[in-house]
């Protein structure tokens, strides 16, 4: 609404342009430092009149805001918002930009990752945009009721109208901005450098940015969007690629590889190779040049405290303590033993006394006498007496040969115990069943009726006898089996002893040969085990992993499992025509008999092999001082944890950047490497020139002789040479090619915009709130800034 012309002749304006020209020469220094945010609150907001435009460079990576006519933006920060919860108060707050991570410890940042308002390079999340603008204006020092300055804000090339109108609405409605202008950041950068003579009036501007790369031809100082070209690859993809590669190579250091850290690494170490494959070959051959180019990032690491060999005093002291402890234990054992011996002797005496008493008592009174003592029969007393004497003997520590005698005695008694076994079935009589251990009792003869009853009883008893006989057979066989097993063990022990002696003899006569043989055997065994293990882990890894997806081809590496699968599938498919008639006939189920059960063969073989390996390795360790048992070789990429079988060294905590240094920026030239099916930087120029509406060779020559690079990604070393080589490949021979870089690829866009907004005619390019509402969306769609004023 306000006509600005009257206010523009103030003396202060000339002051700005003077600052401008002298400071520009300093920008020729190459800035390789990562960008540092500037978020101090400015205090001079009120010193600027309402006519001074505010210039905003709304980039996907950084947001820059400042006053028109100045050379540096006042406030710069990362274009992200986080909304964490405060740990103690619990309220959700908004934090804009990147801040000191130490301060963020008061907030619970688990659920709130940094969020951007951009999708590709178009603003779509206006709530986040509002937070960002809030923060930016606040830090610029805004106070009062509304932003009373015209605003120049940058957008992407051919911004969709939806995004543009929402942005205009936000600025007009929420902030009360009087007028707004939209421009493209690449164009501003180009114009700025054109004024400084870097590029001509006709030229190609190439801007590899954060998430996209643009190529825009300039004819007559104005961008020709019809000839422009955009590939959806940028610095974000390069950083992401590097992060993924490093995470896959060093999975145990994944916590250290945050996105910010990887971005720092990228900015410091990545470069573009003039020819990718020749550079890769250098590294493959391991030449000295490759060694020089490899960078190594040492993570903080504390070596574990080395244990000094205990000194003499330590050893003596520990030995004394052990001796004392041993002594104490021995005393305790001795005391226990003597008390037990006493107990047993008492028991022995008691039992002996009982027996003698039993002999004195009459036969009739035996049962009553026995019940008083708690034993059921005389045999029981005798057997417990025998047991007590035996344990007494053991406690007294008599040699074991006695035990063999005892065993023989028990064997003899066994024969007595199992008299029934030897008697064939049909000769078993009732008497032997009723009292299997005692001699025949006297029985009086009865009359015939009683005989009949007795016969019936006999028949019943026979079955009981059979049961009894079976029980005795079973007991006998089990005890015999136990004895046999013991014998076998003894024999095996003897055999092993014999083999060891033979081994020793062999070793003594020819140590060299023996060692060689051992080593060969060890190697063979370990290889076999490794292979089997690899098959198994591959199978078991895929078996246990649910996210692998796809057909479980890896699960059936085992031959037995493959066979099983084959049988099942043939059964399922070769049956009737179309219908599944498996199982209708009984023979079908025989199929399952053909399949071996899972993993049974492998396990047995594996165990035998492993036992053998252990034996061989222990042998080798004894005889060969140089032998080091080969630890489990798990390849570093697949180890989920650092190999812990050997002590961690300094090298485990180093992250080596070799090939990755030039592999990651390569995706700018070959987006196919990350699966994006579009042209790379060098081809984009060809596409752009081809798309131009007018085919004029002279114009094309002019374009290629002024190829201008801007944007954060063009700071990679080696970018210009590579681009030139690439463009030379696609242009006709002899065409002039000249690649120039912006004075400051990162800040030039803002500077160009600032310069533009400071001009008098800038106001004609803006549109006001009334314009926006009256003229409608169609007009807004066709709105384009004119860059040459």
């Amino acid at each position: 609404m306000v006509c600005f012309c009257s206010q523009l002749n103030r003396p202060g304006q000339r002051h700005w342009s003077i600052i401008f020209s002298t400071a520009s020469r300093e920008r020729l220094k190459k800035k390789k430092m990562p960008f540092i945010s500037k978020i101090k609150r400015q205090t001079d907001y009120n010193l600027f009149p309402s006519s001074t435009p505010i210039v905003i460079d709304n980039g996907a990576s950084y947001f820059r805001i400042g006053w028109a006519g100045e050379t540096e933006p006042r406030v710069i920060f990362r274009n992200i918002v986080q909304r964490p919860r405060h740990k103690t108060t619990g309220e959700t707050v908004s934090i804009v930009g990147d801040h000191d991570p130490a301060l963020l410890k008061y907030f619970d940042c688990t659920r709130s990752g940094p969020r951007s308002a951009f999708d590709n390079d178009v603003v779509y999340q206006f709530e986040i945009m509002e937070y960002i603008l809030d923060f930016a204006f606040d830090r610029l020092g805004a106070n009062g009721s509304g932003i009373d300055h015209p605003v120049l804000i940058t957008e992407c090339v051919c911004n969709p109208v939806h995004s543009r109108s929402k942005m205009a609405e936000l600025l007009f409605e929420t902030y009360g901005v009087p007028s707004v202008a939209f421009g493209v950041d690449t164009a501003f950068s180009y114009k700025y450098n054109q004024q400084h003579g870097i590029c001509g009036q006709d030229g190609l501007a190439i801007c590899p940015g954060f998430s996209t790369t643009h190529v825009i031809p300039f004819v007559g100082g104005e961008p020709v969007y019809r000839g422009s070209c955009r590939t959806n690859i940028g610095g974000y993809h390069v950083t992401d690629y590097l992060k993924q590669l490093l995470s896959l190579k060093y999975p145990h250091h994944m916590a250290r590889l945050t996105w910010e850290k990887v971005e720092d690494l990228k900015m410091e170490h990545c470069y573009i190779a003039p020819d990718y494959f020749s550079e890769a070959r250098l590294f493959q051959k391991g030449t000295k040049e490759a060694e020089d180019k490899t960078r190594c990032w040492q993570l903080p690491w504390v070596p574990p405290p080395t244990e000094e060999p205990p000194s003499e005093e330590e050893i003596a002291r520990k030995a004394a303590i052990k001796e004392r402890q041993g002594q104490r234990l021995r005393e305790m054992a001795e005391a226990k033993r003597s008390s037990r011996i006493n107990e047993l002797e008492n028991e022995l005496h008691g039992l002996g006394f009982l027996l003698r008493q039993l002999e004195q008592v009459e036969a009739n009174d035996i049962p009553s006498f026995l019940s008083a003592t708690g034993y059921v029969s005389k045999q029981e007393i005798e057997s417990s007496l025998a047991k007590v004497t035996q344990s007494l003997r053991k406690a007294k520590g008599e040699p074991k040969s006695e035990q063999a005698e005892v065993e023989e005695k028990t064997e003899a008694s066994m024969n007595e115990k199992y008299p029934l076994i030897h008697i064939p079935d049909n000769m078993l009589t009732s008497e032997q069943v009723l009292n299997p251990k005692e001699p025949k009792l006297k029985k009086k003869k009865k009359k015939c009726i009683i005989i009949a009853i007795v016969i019936k009883l006999l028949l019943a008893m026979v079955s009981i006898q059979l049961k009894e006989k079976r029980r005795q057979i079973f007991l006998k066989t089990t005890t015999e089996g136990r004895q046999r097993a013991k014998q076998k063990r003894v024999e095996e022990g003897l055999e092993r002893e014999r083999k060891n002696q033979e081994d020793e003899e062999r070793r003594l006569e020819n140590p060299e040969l023996y060692a060689e043989q051992m080593r060969a055997k060890y190697k063979e065994l370990s290889e076999r085990i490794d292979q089997r293990k690899r098959l198994k882990t591959n199978g078991s890894h895929t078996n246990g992993n649910n996210t692998s997806g796809g057909v479980g081809r890896g699960e059936r590496l085992n031959a037995a499992q493959r066979e099983r699968m084959r049988l099942l599938t043939t059964a399922a498919f070769d049956r009737g025509k179309g219908e599944d008639t498996f199982g209708a006939k009984d023979e079908d189920w025989q199929l399952y008999k053909l399949m071996s059960r899972d993993n049974d063969d492998d396990d047995e073989g594996a165990e035998a092999d492993e036992a053998e390996l252990a034996r061989v390795s222990s042998r080798l360790q004894e005889i060969d001082p140089k032998f080091v048992p080969k630890q489990e070789l798990v390849p570093p990429q697949s180890a989920a944890e650092a190999p812990r079988l050997r002590p961690l060294t300094k090298e485990d905590f180093q992250i080596v950047l070799g090939v990755e240094r030039f592999r990651c920026p390569e995706i700018l030239y070959h987006p196919n490497l990350v699966g994006i099916d579009q042209v790379g930087l060098d081809e984009m120029t060809g596409v752009s020139i081809r798309r131009l509406p007018s085919k004029d060779e002279d114009l094309e020559q002019r374009l290629t002789s002024s190829i201008f690079m801007t944007g954060g990604c063009c700071l990679f070393p080696g970018m210009s040479q590579r681009l030139e080589a690439g463009i030379r490949m696609i242009r006709p021979c002899g065409a002039p090619i000249n690649v120039v870089r912006a004075l400051d690829p990162v800040l030039d866009a803002w500077r160009g915009a600032s310069l533009y907004a400071a001009k008098l005619q800038f106001t004609e390019q803006t549109f006001t709130r009334m314009d926006y509402y009256e003229k409608g969306e169609d007009w807004l769609r066709r709105y384009q800034l004119r860059y040459t004023l």
């Binding site: 405060h86 934090i95 804009v96 301060l103 008061y106 178009v122 779509y124 206006f126 709530e127 509002e130 937070y131 809030d134 204006f137 606040d138 805004a142 106070n143 009062g144 009721s145 992407c156 090339v157 051919c158 911004n159 969709p160 939806h162 995004s163 409605e173 929420t174 969007y225 019809r226 422009s228 955009r230 590939t231 993924q244 896959l248 890769a280 070959r281 590294f283 493959q284 591959n538 890894h541 895929t542 992993n545 692998s548 997806g549 796809g550 390849p635 990429q637 090939v659 990755e660 592999r663 070959h670 196919n672 490497l673 990350v674 699966g675 099916d677 579009q678 042209v679 790379g680 596409v687």
Partner: protein
Amino acid sequence: MEAEVIEAELVLPTYLSFKRVQMYEKYPKGQSRGRHWKHLKQILQAENYQNYPPDEPNYVNIESPPSMHPCKRLCDMTGYEAPYYDPRTNLRYANAEVFKLVRSLPSEYVQRYLALRNAAVVLK
């Protein structure tokens, strides 16, 4: 709030004098905030670029075409030139040692390497 947090002015204040409509008025608490923003795909669909003349530059038609050059075959793990690929896992490898490593990778890593190239099996 802790003293150093306030001093650093980390948190965005809820009331700002230069705004006509404050955030808490615009987005009252309790309502779902983010779901009504259209994503880029939806924005482009709503633009209806087919109604306008095709030679007018718009967001969609300035996009670059696919590459004409033959695609570079890089080893997935080491980054060297890789003329071979493993039919079981679909990974590219440069030589026999790398092949050993490729075959011993657990399936999760295989999928991640393939995802770098956008060639992973995605189950929908």
